[in-house]
Amino acid sequence: MYQTIISAAVEGAEATNPLVPNVWEMGVVFVGFAVLMYIVVKFVVPMFEKTFAERAEAIEGGIAKAEKAQAEASAALEEYKQQLTDARAEANRIREEARAEGAQILADLKEKAASESARITAQAHVQIESERQAAVVSLRSEVGTLATTLAGRIVGEALNDDERSARVVDRFLADLENQNAGAAK
């Protein structure tokens, strides 16, 4: 039984050389492969490549975004630093100005006070002088009256003749002044 199977197999093998192709099979493989190639070229490869490109772009875009944010943050930091420096300089400047202004005000006040005091002093001098003059005048008259009254009492003579007594007093005072002037000389 087995011999018949084997011999049948051998006959079959002799009948078809395995290197000789079946033309219809070749046609099916060619057409099938062409269809597959068409699908791959038209759809599969573009779709995968698109996804790859999008993914690469997403990753690179994310990196670019992060870099941009970083740059923005450092720019903002720089700006704040600059502003801080500016503010400090401004504060210093204002302080300096205030100090200078204060000094100026102080100097002004001092000057004003000095001039005021000088003015007051001068005024006082003038007032004192005028009062002295007034005192001198009033003293002159009073002293004259007192002296004549006194002299009248002593002499017992009425010296009520004003005109005469005034002349006497004036003469006396003039002598007194001349004496003083002579002593001063």
């Binding site: 219809w24 099979e25 070749m26 060619f30 490869v45 779709m47 995968f48 993914r55």
Partner: protein, 245 residues
């Protein structure tokens, strides 16, 4: 065991099981990759990830590594189609019930090797003009007196033997693998049917051997798809850069 032709039944030149399987392979590959590539999500799901792995393997490990440069993308579709077309048609041989690698018939292997042959010669001529044949057959830096010996060898090896080995390598490994598994199967059947209990027992050894051969065949099926595609990439690269070889 070969099934006879499906339509018309039993006629040698009719519509065979191979033809059905080839058409089925196109449907399988196209469906899988179209489904995998369809969603185009930046963070891929499982199916998309598997598709991208498979596509990326051919694109980067074969096309980019071998052909390189800027223009490898042009040849990715061909290499990709070849790899998965051959892979699926080979793996048929490892699937129970189907159990028939399509390229155990030589016709398909001739067709694919022929397509590749035409492709790389076309690329060579397009790139270098008719000078390409001189570049491909006259190696530079060889003493003049050896050239009469070298040139015929180069012509035979590059233009005559190359497509033959390219196609027969695939066909022969698939046929041999198919035969081995088939013979082991028949052998097991034969030994199990024996009256003698000792002779019957030896069938266990054959079963162990058949399983080992089955594993080896599965490996070779995947490997041959890779080898065929890799050689295609090497031929294309050789044609592209004929002037620097």
């Amino acid at each position: 065991m070969h099934l006879p032709a499906i339509l018309p039944w039993g006629v040698a030149d009719g519509f065979s099981k191979q033809m059905l399987l080839v058409i089925l392979s196109v449907v399988i590959i196209a469906t899988f990759f179209l489904l995998a590539a369809r969603k185009q999500q930046l963070v891929p799901g499982k199916l998309q990830f598997a598709g991208e792995m498979a596509y990326g393997f051919v694109r980067n490990s074969i096309a980019k590594d071998i052909i390189g440069g800027k223009d490898f993308m042009k040849y990715v579709p061909l290499l990709f189609s070849l790899f998965f077309f051959i892979l699926v048609n080979n793996i048929y041989g490892a699937i129970p019930v189907i159990q028939l690698p399509s390229f155990s018939h030589v016709g398909g292997a001739y067709v694919l090797a022929g397509i590749v042959y035409v492709t790389w010669i076309g690329i060579g001529i397009k790139k270098n003009g008719l000078k390409y044949f001189k570049l491909a057959t006259v190696p530079s830096g060889v003493p003049v007196y050896i050239l009469p010996l070298i040139i015929p060898i180069e012509i035979i090896s590059n233009f005559l033997v190359r497509p033959v080995t390219h196609s027969l390598r695939l066909f022969a490994t698939m046929l041999a693998g198919h035969l081995i598994v088939m013979i082991a199967g028949s052998g097991i059947e034969f030994l199990v049917m024996q009256e003698n209990i000792l002779l019957k027992g030896t069938s266990l050894l054959v079963i162990a051997g058949a399983v080992a051969m089955y594993m080896l065949e599965a490996l070779i099926m995947a490997l041959q798809a890779y080898v065929f595609t890799l050689l295609t990439a090497i031929y294309i690269e050789g044609a592209l850069h004929a002037d620097s070889h």
